[in-house]
């Protein structure tokens, strides 16, 4: 064919070059090209940094926890950037400290449910038959219970604490993920490259992790980015009925439900925690979209 193939020499330089190449660097290079994904990453990083360094910015005990009735319901001003709540606590302090718990809950619940959902969904979709039947029927029966009732029951049984809250939310979120993963897996496994991979002697685990899931990732990523915000909102629901975060601990969802009585005349009380949830969710969405495109080589450049 071409002269390039006829006298191809394998050289030391080539070896060095091949050694360097990495999949992650490649995905990052492509991700960087998307302005919206970079914006999402920037906003998300800012929120995470604010949460991490919240103690340096506003004192937790004196600003976010202790009541100060003298200062109650102040509109945003130069000392209280986001105003103060009905107990006179600085809303900015509560938002950045609340980010810790909200992000912790949002990310950990999502991460655990994605992990479990990936395993259950891909096993069900890949193997089909009886395994599929058993897994999906169990998940269906979990899904048939309203998520909030289910979490409520679990928290009521296990006791009210953050780890128990995470367990409760995860149980409620796994079935949804597993369904989406299963559906995406089913669209992929009919492809000839899956057969070809089996014919090359690849094992089931490798086929699922390198051939099936990467090709099924689009819808899964979208679901992941939506779920962080949805977990935060669900925690708000639980806090509302007194089974979520125990006051006065700041948490975005809880802050929303605490301010319901005052929001008519003091709308900033819901504006800032609400904005925090929206920004987190939006930035994750932008990042997720960019990541999905960066992971798909067909959309390259």
């Amino acid at each position: 064919m071409t002269s390039k193939t006829a006298n191809w020499e394998f050289s030391e330089e080539l070896f060095e070059e091949y050694k360097k190449k990495s999949q992650i660097a490649e995905v990052w290079r492509r991700l960087k090209k998307s302005k919206t994904a970079m914006l999402g990453l920037f906003v998300l990083t800012t929120i995470i940094l604010l949460a991490l360094f919240a103690d340096l910015i506003r004192n937790y005990q004196s600003m976010a926890i202790e009541q100060n009735i003298m200062n109650r319901l102040q509109s945003p001003n130069s000392t209280h950037w986001f105003g103060t709540d009905a107990q006179g606590r600085d809303l900015f302090a509560r938002v950045i400290h609340g980010a810790r718990i909200s992000l912790l809950l949002g990310f950990s619940c999502t991460a655990i449910s994605v992990f479990v959902g990936l395993i259950l969904g891909s096993v069900a979709g890949y193997f089909g038959g009886k395994i599929d039947g058993v897994i999906m029927r169990i998940l269906d029966s979990i899904m048939s219970i309203p998520a909030i009732l289910l979490s409520l029951a679990i928290v009521a049984v296990l006791g009210q604490s953050i780890p128990n809250l995470i367990i409760a939310m995860t149980v409620a979120y796994v079935p949804g993920f597993a369904r989406i993963v299963r559906a995406s897996v089913l669209t992929v496994i009919g492809n000839e490259y899956i057969e070809a991979a089996k014919a090359s002697g690849l094992g089931t685990f490798r086929i699922i992790s390198k051939y099936v899931l990467p090709n099924a990732f689009g819808p899964i990523i979208v679901e992941i980015t939506m779920s962080v915000a949805s977990v935060i909102k669900a925690v708000a629901g639980l806090s509302f009925i007194g089974l979520g975060i125990i006051p006065p601990t700041p948490e975005w969802g809880a802050m929303l439900s605490e301010s319901r009585e005052f929001m008519r005349y003091n709308p900033y009380l819901v504006l800032y925690p609400g904005l925090a949830i929206v920004l987190t969710s939006l930035s994750l969405n932008l990042l997720g979209d960019g990541l999905r495109d960066a992971l798909d080589p067909r959309l390259k450049d």
Binding site: M1, T2, K4, T5, A6, W8, F10, L14, F15, Y18, K19, K21, G128, G129, N191, E192, Y193, E195, A196, A197, K198, A199, S200, G201, L202, G203, K210, Y211, P214, N215, L295, D296, P297, R298, K300
Partner: protein
């Protein structure tokens, strides 16, 4: 060289679904000698892919049933291997090329990684040797190795099929099963790819089971031919037997009749009348009887045996029993 290292003995495969039972392979036997290419020819639905998948033990698990038969590879029955052992056979000892190169590569992995993966799986070697081997394989199939970091969609169909060939030959398998490897390619590329397969298999001393419905391809590349109809081999022999002997199964005659001949002047093609019998409800006698221009009463009632003449075997009543000699 002369001993058959690969044989299929009396293989029966059914597909059982909720609605029906498809009898896809019905007592198929064939054998292959080292270094040879066997062309498995038959029209659509004859059970060619089913045969190939039975060899690889990759039949769809829930619907397929292997009722009978044995597949011997170097004296070992593939049917008796554990799944773990079978996985080591796949890709290393027996490799398979699928029909459609457009979809037989993973779209999210670089082509280099895909070739490399097969090697890593079966042959332990140093990084350096591994990378070098991948480059060699690309060069071997005529693709510049610096393109190995590209993704499948960046290649043409013919190039993809060559990459698939590189993958299949990566571990120098003893047997290569090619299921209509060129059907999806256009005619000029077909010839190139076939030539390449034929050349490489000779270099690597690989035997090949070439599945096709193109007699022209068989004439060019095969040593042996087996003609398949409704899940059985109805005629087999060397390429010379099939292309030059006088006597043939009427179905084979029909196959030859359905391709235009340059030497004989004929106004019309004469394709075989009718369709293959319904695989869910096969007739009692010879499966071809319903379409056969030379059909006799016995054909409807009793299945014919093979009439063996040296390397040439024909499964037809015309050549067995009292009819022997009254050939068409």
């Amino acid at each position: 060289m002369s001993e058959a290292f690969f044989t299929i003995q009396d293989l029966w495969v059914r597909y059982v679904t909720d609605h029906e039972t498809v009898y896809a392979v019905n007592g198929l036997s064939l054998s292959l000698k080292r270094g040879q290419t066997l062309g498995l020819v038959g029209e659509t639905g004859a059970g060619k892919t089913t045969t190939a998948l039975s060899i690889m033990r990759l039949l769809p698990p829930r619907v397929s049933r292997v009722d009978q038969g044995n597949i011997l590879f170097n004296g070992v029955s593939l049917m008796d291997l554990s799944e773990e052992e079978m996985r080591r056979v796949r890709g290393e000892k027996i490799a398979m090329i699928y029909q459609d190169p457009m979809t037989s590569l993973n779209p999210v992995m670089t082509v280099g990684d895909q070739v490399q993966e097969v090697l890593e799986l079966h042959k332990k070697q140093s990084r350096r040797a591994l990378y070098k081997r991948v480059d060699e394989l690309f060069a071997m199939v005529g693709i510049p190795p610096d393109r190995k970091k590209e993704y499948p969609h960046q290649f043409s169909g013919g190039m993809k099929q060559r990459i698939v060939i590189a993958m299949a030959l990566a571990c120098e398998p003893e047997l290569l099963i090619a299921d209509e490897p060129t059907t999806a390619l256009d005619v000029t590329i077909q010839a190139q790819v076939l030539q390449m397969i034929a050349k490489l298999k000779d270099e690597l001393d690989t035997s090949m089971l070439l599945i096709t419905h193109d007699l022209g391809v068989v004439a060019q590349t095969c040593d042996m031919v087996a003609i398949m109809y409704a899940g059985k081999i109805i005629e087999s022999g060397t390429v010379h037997d099939i292309f030059h002997n006088k006597d043939h199964h009427p179905y084979t005659e029909g196959l030859f009749g359905s391709i235009p001949k340059l030497t004989v002047e004929s106004r019309r093609l004469s394709p075989i009348e009718g369709l293959m019998p319904d695989p869910t409800n096969l007739p009692d006698g010879c499966a071809f009887a319903g379409r056969c221009p030379a059909c006799m009463p016995i054909c409807m009632a009793q299945e014919p045996d093979y009439c063996q003449r040296a390397s040439h075997a024909i499964k037809c009543h015309l050549f067995t029993g009292e009819n022997r000699g009254e050939a068409v």
